[in-house]
């Protein structure tokens, strides 16, 4: 029985990684850059929702919408101010370092505004926990919502990319920026749109992360951000279903590692598995050919 409850806990944790990893993989797949500030955009989304609920007394759903708007604006601003000027002029390494800078910038701005004391986030999910086997197994409402959101987002993103003009433009940009520009696609606009979507997803991920683990501080996003990045690489970075699969697996491995090996070594186990997977399949579990990337 405890095996099953560990499995459920692993899936809950993994679903949070998965929803964060979707944003990572989306931006990487199209703009070909690692947005290391993604974890901190998530944290900003958490704070935006927290402020709406606690100070303005807004209903949870409205607060999520506000958080999405705030994060989308921030995402586009970051892209325009910090990344775009570097994309053409400098090496991709410069953009990577800038992303780390943006990450610290966001943390410290939030630290200035909200202070360092952690806030306890009230869950926005109101559906009750699912109790199985006489209450010995407990699937929390947040987990159900997180997994369903992951699946909905995954389907929506895939459809958006394959069915709409803007999505096709994204595909083109991800394959060859120069050629896409020659074909009349506005590359800058497309990349900005990618960041807007990625950051909007980050807001949803932030709210769900804080609902599952209700402690919000300026550093809330950094470690889950890194784990989600690992999940994205694990599943094959650039692949949207890969991010979902990678996230879930990462969560399950982490919890099993804690439960059956050592609670201190869980991270070491997670990264060891990652290394093995990358040795066997260098592109990650589902990352195969360029065409399959979004």
């Amino acid at each position: 029985m405890s095996f099953l409850s560990y499995l459920i806990n692993g899936i809950s944790l993994g679903s949070v990684y998965a929803i964060i990893a979707l944003g990572y993989t989306m931006v990487y797949g199209i703009a070909k850059m690692l947005n290391f500030a993604h974890g901190d955009v998530i944290m900003v989304g958490g704070y935006a929702a927290f402020t709406c609920i606690m100070s303005a007394g807004m209903p949870p759903l409205a607060a999520v919408l506000v958080a999405v708007v705030v994060c989308t604006v921030i995402g586009v601003l970051i892209e325009t101010i910090a990344y775009r000027p570097l994309l053409e002029a400098a090496s991709s390494l410069a953009v990577l370092i800038t992303a780390i800078g943006v990450s610290y910038f966001l943390q410290n701005v939030v630290l200035l505004i909200f202070g360092s004391n952690p806030k306890s986030f009230q869950s926005v999910v109101t559906i009750p926990d699912l109790k199985l086997a006489n209450g010995t197994l407990n699937i929390s409402g947040v987990t159900i919502v997180t997994i369903s959101s992951c699946i909905v987002i995954m389907l929506a993103l895939t459809t958006f990319i394959s069915r709409t003009k803007a999505g096709q433009a994204m595909l083109a940009v991800s394959e060859d920026k120069g050629a896409a520009q020659l074909m009349g696609i506005n590359v800058n606009k497309t990349i900005a749109l990618t960041f807007a979507i990625g950051s909007g997803l980050a807001a949803i991920a932030g709210v769900l992360l804080c609902s599952a683990y209700p402690s919000l501080s300026p550093y809330t996003g950094s470690m889950p951000g890194i784990k989600a990045f690992v999940a994205a690489v694990f599943g094959g970075i650039g692949s949207i279903p890969g991010a979902f699969l990678g996230g879930l697996l990462l969560g399950v491995i982490e919890i099993f590692g804690k439960a059956y090996v050592s609670s201190q070594l869980s991270d070491a186990i997670v990264f060891a598995v990652l290394i093995v997977v990358l040795l066997v399949k260098p592109t990650g579990l589902l990352g195969k050919k360029i065409q399959e990337k979004v």
Binding site: N117, S140, P214, A259
Partner: protein, 381 residues
């Protein structure tokens, strides 16, 4: 523009000259180092805020030995290297005494330099044993980790709180693992048993999900879980335990202090939590109430135990300076030689204990207080 810059630099130069002449020989310079930003910023800023309150109070009352106190807080972002840089910066500034550092790991590093310089060091909250063992220049205000671990084990044993005890601790943190080590050692002499299966460790990089540690404690059927950890993780543990209908007795240490000030935290989850702490903001003595009122007024928060330690620290320095008759024109080393003797002679009635005394090893002697959370406030036990 050029003219303006020139004018500015003149004013600046004049101001520097003025300030050095005004403060050159008639102030005691107290430096302080702690994490004002970064993941432990709550502790650093509490110390800096409270120390500033104490310094201002003392200056308003006319200072010490005819000289005012000057306080210079520096940020170390919880990074030992940054702490050493801050220490050197403070030395350049002319620091004569160090109130710090706030956290254990940084303190151990800084103490290794302070002992060479013979700089008086009083850490308000560095509770690891090694913070003050490198030399006789170092003292502390708070309890050391072993004190807390052993005291909690005795308290649980003597009051018959539990038979089977589980533990969740942070193995990557010297504070948490230090307390746990002495708790385990003292538990052997006590009538309760630590269930090995229910001893769950976590590390700084995996401290959001505690479901496994809680599940194991639940399966082992423990009736008390000892939490030698900080309140941020504890708030997550209480939430996750409630979700799995697990409600043992919870017993924390001073790091648990602050749990009730977490914004938005459902205080009913912490109902019945016991903790050992030297300071409770709800205590009714005049000293505590004045301090809490003043702190809330200035910083809009209820002060935690770190703030109280820092406040007492400044007053301990004042008492020692008075007892030794040190004057502000002495060098840091001369003051240190006087203070390390004077510290063992003073007795201080402060926020974190009455009749606090120190011995030459630098450890304080004061009684730990156990409190329990009832109806969202601390109640003495």
């Amino acid at each position: 523009m050029k003219k303006l810059a020139k004018a500015l630099s003149f004013t600046l130069a004049a101001a520097t000259v003025l300030s050095t002449t005004a403060f050159a020989d008639d102030t005691f310079k107290i430096g302080s180092i702690g994490p004002v930003t970064g993941p432990a910023a709550a502790y650093g800023s509490a110390v800096m805020n409270a120390a500033q309150i104490a310094v201002d109070e003392i200056n308003e009352a006319g200072g010490v030995n005819g000289a005012l106190l000057e306080f210079n807080p520096q940020d170390d972002t919880l990074d030992a290297e940054a702490a050493v840089n801050a220490y050197n910066k403070l030395k350049d500034w002319g620091m004569q005494m160090l109130l710090g550092t706030v956290t254990s790991a940084c303190c151990i590093e800084v103490e290794s330099y302070a002992v060479e310089d013979n700089m008086f060091l009083l850490t308000p909250s560095g509770s690891a044993v090694d913070c003050i063992t490198a030399g006789d220049n170092a003292f502390r205000v708070c309890f050391s980790d072993p004190d807390q671990g052993a005291a909690s084990a005795r308290y649980i044993g003597e009051n018959g709180l539990a038979e089977k005890v589980g533990v969740i601790y942070d193995s990557s943190d010297v504070y948490s693992s230090g307390i746990f080590a002495t708790f385990r050692a003292e538990a052997e002499n006590q009538p309760f048993e630590i269930v090995e299966d229910a001893v769950g460790a976590f590390t700084a990089d995996s401290k959001t999900d505690f479901s496994v540690q809680l599940q194991k404690a639940k399966d082992a059927g423990v009736d008390l879980v000892y939490l030698p950890i900080y309140y941020n993780e504890a708030s997550l543990i209480f939430t996750q335990a409630a979700a799995m209908d697990f409600s043992p007795l919870w017993f924390g240490v001073d790091g648990m202090d602050g749990i009730l000030s977490v914004d938005g935290f459902d205080n009913s989850l912490a109902e019945g939590v016991m903790l050992l702490t030297p300071f409770s903001a709800d205590a009714e003595d005049e000293l505590t109430q004045n301090f809490v009122a003043k702190y809330q007024d200035l910083y809009g928060e209820v002060p935690n135990q770190f703030a109280a330690d820092a406040y007492d620290g400044v007053y301990a320095i004042k008492a020692a300076l008075e007892a030794s008759g040190a004057t502000a024109d002495m060098s840091a080393s001369e003051i240190c030689d006087l203070l390390k003797v004077a510290m063992t002679e003073i007795s201080l009635d402060g926020l974190t204990g009455t009749g606090m005394t120190w011995d030459a090893s630098g450890e304080p002697t004061k009684a730990p207080k156990a409190v329990v959370i009832e109806d969202g406030v601390y109640k003495g036990m």
